[in-house]
Each structure stands twice: as structure tokens, then as C-alpha cells.
């Protein structure tokens, strides 16, 4: 065991730190749940790409830096510490990208990876359906192969598609075998959202902004070349993506460490009033310790993976841990803010309340999406502890 960074890693940290210092917009961008903010974030993706910081874990020949997981964690630490913009293209770069590299044909890689990397194409997911949420295998939206076998005809509905309102492309799972049950007979398909027959209906979230959308498919024609992996093999392809989603890439610890730091600062700024309630100091210290525990554990997992280990139930344990930590930290911040905690950020007397309320609302989604925490607990009990399913 060796818990110091190598010279190379330190140099890497310096490099990204100075690049971010020079390039992170002075003014925070508008949220990408607005059209203007979406455009601003798209431009930021271009800037990242030009600096070759867009997808550092990708191979060099694909515009990445072939970064290892430790470099990835360092990158994220600097990225969050610099308060750099959220990644509007995370579905593409972190979820679909790696899957494409694993399952895609040469043509598909050529066709899609570059547009993804350059920020030209923003991707959204088409997985959940009204009756296939936690139970993804219940997917019904169907794709029929045309008689001449040149394309699929897609009909049905997807929902909870994050950032779909202004996205360009969608990757999703569709049932190609109408006779099939559960996770059989599903196929992974990539399609542009401007195809004829596609209707995108924005869904406003808790803050009123259209953070996700429903997507309706009415006899949408998609060329077979847009199929990722074999027909009926979609589940396996999707699981790889899901592994990433719940895994390291999207929930690196930096985000929660920075929230914990801001919470400590908020506590210090409001010490006199906060210490009237002993529970607050308790919660602030716990937030720090839990963020630290999440970081240490993530580094340990990353090192294990680098040495060829496989990811196991970590995907479930960390989903629960970070999502509950995130809720807990924001709840604590709101109690520190007291009577002004309910103010919206733009309220005239909201000085000092920061973005904690928005963060609190967003934190509500953590225990829900990508498999509810109840599902994760089932997985831990059954797969990690070996408890009986039925």
C-alpha cells in the first residue's frame, strides 16, 4: 500500500489545475435545464475537447488521454474544486462512449465517437418506460425489422430521459422480438432525435425546469447500421452501460467532498446561530467523515480495478452511500440557514443561502434514479450476502 501520488500524477494534477484556472468561466453558466444554459454547456464541451480534457479516459487515438482511474479521480477533484460546469454530454462520453468502444463496429466508432467527443452531438438515454422503471426488463417499446432488412420501425414510448429536451441523439433499448420475455429479445439502438415520427415531451422537475422528457416513437425508421451489438443482445450491452452509470465514472468523490467543504464553510460562517442546535455540528462532522470514507473507498476500488480486479457489489453500496450522504449534507445546510432556507436563490434577501435549496431538490433524485436504493439494498442482500431471493 502506498498512499501518495506519484510525480506523474502530481504533474498531471498541476496541468489540469492550471488549464481549469485559465478556462473555467468566471460567471457560472446557466443550468443546462434551460435552452440558453444547454447551449452554454455545449460550448464548454467544445472547449474541453479542444484542450483534450473532454474525455481523458478515452484512448489517445480517439481524442482522449488514455487516463487511468487515478488520473480520472484527480481530474474530477480539480474539476469540482474549480467549480467547473457540469457535463451536459456525460451520457455520451461516460455511458455510451465506453460501450461503443466495446461493442461498436469500426464504422459506428468512426461515425459517433467524434461527434460525441467534440460536443457536436449531445446524447440522451432511452431506457425507462412508463411501466419499466426499476423493472427495466419490462421494456415494451418495439423495433420491427423492415422486410428488406435495411431498417427498424420503432413504436412506443420512453420516459425519464435526462437532458433529452435539447439533446441531438438518443441511445436506447427496444424489443425486436415481440414474443420475447423480460431481458430477452431486446436490442440496443442509436437514433437522432430529429427523425420523423419522434415527439419529445419535456417533463418539468421539482424546480419547474424540464430536466428530463418523454420520447414518443410513431413508426420511426432507423437504419440497421444504428444497432449496437447484435439483435436481441441489447440487455448485455445495456448492462455494461449501467455498470458504468452506477460505477466510478459518474460519481467520483470530488463532488461530495466539495459539498462537504462548502457545508463546513457554511457552518463556520453561521457558527453562532448553528451551534444553538447541537445536532448541526454533529451532522457537519459526519458529512466530512462520510465524504472522506467515500473517497478512500473509491480510491481503494480504483486501485483494485487497475490491478485487474472486477467491480462487484460496489455499484450498489456506493449508490446508497453517496445518495444518502448528498441528501444528508443538503438537509444539514438547510437547517443551518434556518428561516431563510426556503428562499429561492433569486429572492432579494437570499444573500448567503447559495444554491443549497436547488442542491437539496436535486439530491431528492439520488436515491431514486439508476435503480432505487430499495433495489440496491435487495441486490446487496441477495448478491453480496447471498440471502435467499424467494
Amino acid at each position: 500500500m502506498q498512499l501518495e501520488y506519484s510525480k506523474e500524477h502530481q504533474a498531471f494534477r498541476e496541468e489540469i489545475r492550471s488549464w481549469l484556472a485559465a478556462n473555467v468561466p468566471a460567471q457560472p453558466l446557466k443550468t443546462f435545464d434551460t435552452e440558453e444554459g444547454f447551449q452554454q454547456h455545449r460550448e464548454w464541451e467544445v472547449k474541453l475537447y479542444e484542450g483534450r480534457w473532454g474525455m481523458i479516459t478515452w484512448p489517445e487515438e480517439m481524442g482522449g488521454r488514455g487516463a487511468d482511474l487515478i488520473q480520472w479521480l484527480i481530474f474530477e477533484e480539480e474539476y469540482y474544486a474549480a467549480r467547473a460546469p457540469l457535463r451536459v454530454n456525460q451520457n455520451g462520453i461516460f455511458l455510451l462512449g465506453p460501450t461503443l468502444m466495446e461493442y461498436g463496429t469500426e464504422e459506428q466508432k468512426k461515425k459517433f465517437l467524434n461527434g460525441m467527443a467534440t460536443g457536436k452531438d449531445i446524447w440522451c438515454q432511452g431506457w425507462s418506460e412508463p411501466n419499466a422503471g426499476s423493472d427495466m426488463a419490462a421494456i415494451r417499446a418495439k423495433a420491427e425489422l423492415s422486410e428488406d432488412g435495411t431498417h427498424y420501425i420503432i413504436n412506443g414510448q420512453k420516459t425519464w430521459s435526462t437532458r433529452a429536451v435539447w439533446a441531438d441523439w438518443c441511445f436506447g433499448m427496444f424489443r425486436t422480438d415481440p414474443e420475447s420475455q423480460r431481458h430477452h429479445g431486446l436490442t440496443f439502438i442509436l437514433l437522432p432525435l430529429d427523425l420523423e415520427g419522434i415527439t419529445v415531451r419535456p417533463i418539468p422537475q421539482l424546480d419547474g425546469l424540464p430536466g428530463f422528457a418523454e420520447i414518443f416513437f410513431d413508426n420511426v425508421k432507423v437504419p440497421v447500421e444504428n444497432r449496437l451489438g447484435g439483435e436481441g443482445e441489447g440487455w448485455g450491452v445495456a448492462m455494461a452501460t449501467a455498470g458504468f452509470e452506477r460505477g466510478l465514472m459518474l460519481r467520483s468523490p470530488a463532488r461530495f467532498q466539495e459539498t462537504a467543504k462548502r457545508l463546513v464553510e457554511l457552518y463556520q460562517e453561521n457558527r453562532d446561530s448553528a451551534d444553538r442546535d447541537p445536532a448541526i455540528r454533529e451532522a457537519v462532522l459526519r458529512a466530512y467523515m462520510d465524504a472522506e470514507a467515500y473517497t478512500l473507498t473509491t480510491y481503494q476500488t480504483a486501485c483494485r480495478l487497475i490491478k485487474g480486479g472486477k467491480i462487484g457489489a460496489e455499484s450498489s453500496t456506493n449508490k446508497i452511500f453517496w445518495s444518502e450522504l448528498d441528501q444528508q449534507m443538503h438537509a444539514t445546510a438547510l437547517s443551518i440557514l434556518g428561516a431563510r432556507a426556503e428562499l429561492q436563490p433569486h429572492a432579494p434577501d437570499a444573500a448567503g443561502v447559495g444554491t443549497w435549496l436547488d442542491g437539496w431538490m436535486f439530491a431528492q433524485s439520488g436515491p431514486i434514479y439508476a435503480g432505487t436504493n430499495e433495489i440496491q439494498r435487495n441486490i446487496i442482500a441477495e448478491r453480496m450476502l447471498g440471502m435467499p431471493r424467494k
Binding site: A138, A279, I280, L337, G338, E342, L343, P348, A350, I368
Partner: protein, 349 residues
Amino acid sequence: MDFTFTEDQLLFQESVHDFLVSEITPEKIRGLWETESGRSAELWSQLAEMGLTGITVPEAHGGLGMSALDFVLLAQECGYVALPAPLVHTAMVSVPLLVNCGNQKLLDNWLPKIAAGEAIIAVGLEQNVFVEDAHIADLLILEKDGALYAVDPAKAQLRGNESVDLSRKLFAVEFDPAQAEKLADGEQARELIKAALNGGALGVAAEALGLAQRMVDISVQYTSERKQFGVAIGTFQAVKHHMANIAYKLEYAKAPAARAAYAIDHRQPKVDMAVSHVKLAACEVANLAAKNCIQVHGAMGYTWEVDLHIYMKRAWAYASTWGDAAFHKQRVADYVLASDAKLGAGNTF
């Protein structure tokens, strides 16, 4: 010893429940969010017609002359529908404050109008930072430097502050004491302010109980219909226990609410502790309800379209209004940790 509500009290609650549930639909609330004032004069007159605006106004002044205990059940119903009107504020804070302060001119001048639904008085205490519904008030009663003033809204500067709950209308208010009528200062003001705070805190606590009940009802219905893995998700034990954990805590906050109302009506020495106890318990269960109910709704609960957030956001807002948790914990501590505290069996009543 009789800890039950009367038939009349329960029947009144039922009729108010039926009226509010049919009138104050989520659609109506969403509609009011789109309006400038966020308030409905028509709704206010309806409440007046039922005698609710004057429920705590003495009969001599045209009210029903009822007590906090009579109203506490109704306050729960106001919470159940997330009522977008200052009824609880009026019945639990404004009117009792006027009555307690005993200023005959004010009483004769305002109480009949309040009972008739023709006037609204908004009370602003420093503990609250903001004044609720100041924009539709005909008179403001404001705390400043330990004194209470009657302030003409026209002579005050209102600065609207938007809450996460779009139905809550909050205002930072500035005024010049020289241009206002001082109602009380010193010890008298302290007592009036404390009583007003207790009334407001019990009011939102009772509303919070109604909010929790509403969120549970919505969620029980949703989870009984919503299917995953081929069965209603309400059959999953984890979902059941999320709901049960709200339900049993809710049961144990109701009696303390009644006791606190009783303590206010009978000016019991333990009134501060009693009010703070239920404020803490009710806001805790309401926020637990928010947390568990959005969870069992899944992504649906995270949307603006499902009605859950109407009640959830108010539960969030109430956690720190009319005294935050620290304030109320301290008042309980003042009672429990006092050297002459009467604790243990036999000392509850």
C-alpha cells in the same frame, strides 16, 4: 380528565375537510401560482361565510368566539390541502394578538372586519425574518426592538421573497416606527410576542400534521396502483415500512398538538414546552413523510406534474418558520433541564 374532542368539534372538522378538499384542489393551487398576488379574494369570502376567518374572534365582535383547541383540528385540514390563504395566521396569530393586546379601538375597528372577511392583519415577528401575506394585509402588526407596532401597509416598504413553496408569500418589511402606532413594549410586548409566536408555531405544526397525512394518502393510493415486477409496489415490504414509519410517528404528534392548544387556551405554565414539542415532532414527521413519499413515488415524485411536491415543499418550508429547530429545542431544554423541573410519571397534566 377528558382527552377527547366533542362531537361538534369533530363534525366541524369534517365539514371543513369536505369543503377544503373539494374547493382547494391541486389545480386551483397551481392556478393561483400563476396569479400576481397568489391569493383569491373569492376563496377568502367563502372562508368568511363559513365563519372561519372569525373563528377565534369573540362573539361580541361578530366571530364564533372559539379557542385554539377548536381550531387546531381545522388547522390540520388547512395543511391537508396546503391552503393558499392566511387562515391559520389569522385565527392563531392576528386575532389572538389583537385580543391579548386589549386595545379597544383596534378591537372594535378590526375584529368585525376580520370576521366578515373584509380585512386581513399580518403579524411580523423578528423570529420569523419575513412577514407572511403582507401584500394583502390591511394592517401590519410588527415587532421592532422589543416593541409592537400597528403599521399602515401603505407606509411600509415590502420586498417580496419567493419561497420554494410558491403558495407562501413572504415579505421583508421595513417601516418607520415614528409613523406607526406603538401597541406595546417592555414586558407586555414580550408576553404578546411570545403568545403570538406560540400561536403561529402551533398553527404550522398542526398544518404539518395535515401535510403529512396528505402525502401518506397520495402515496398509499399511488403505490396501490403503480405496478413494477408485475405487482403493485405497495405490496413490497420496504414500501409498506416507509409508509408505516410515517403513520406511527404521526399518531404520536396528534395528542401533543391538542395538549399544546389546550395549554394556550388555559395559559398553562408549560405552554412554551408544549408548543415547541409539537412543532418539533410535527415538522419532523412532515419532513419524514416528504422524504419517504417521494421515494416510493420514484421518478414520478421528482416531477412538477405529480401533486406531491405541493405538500412536500410546504413541509420543507415549515421546518424552520415560526422558530427553527434550534429555537424550539432550546425551549424544551429550558423546561426539562430546569433545576425545579417536574419530570417523570404523574407530571404530564
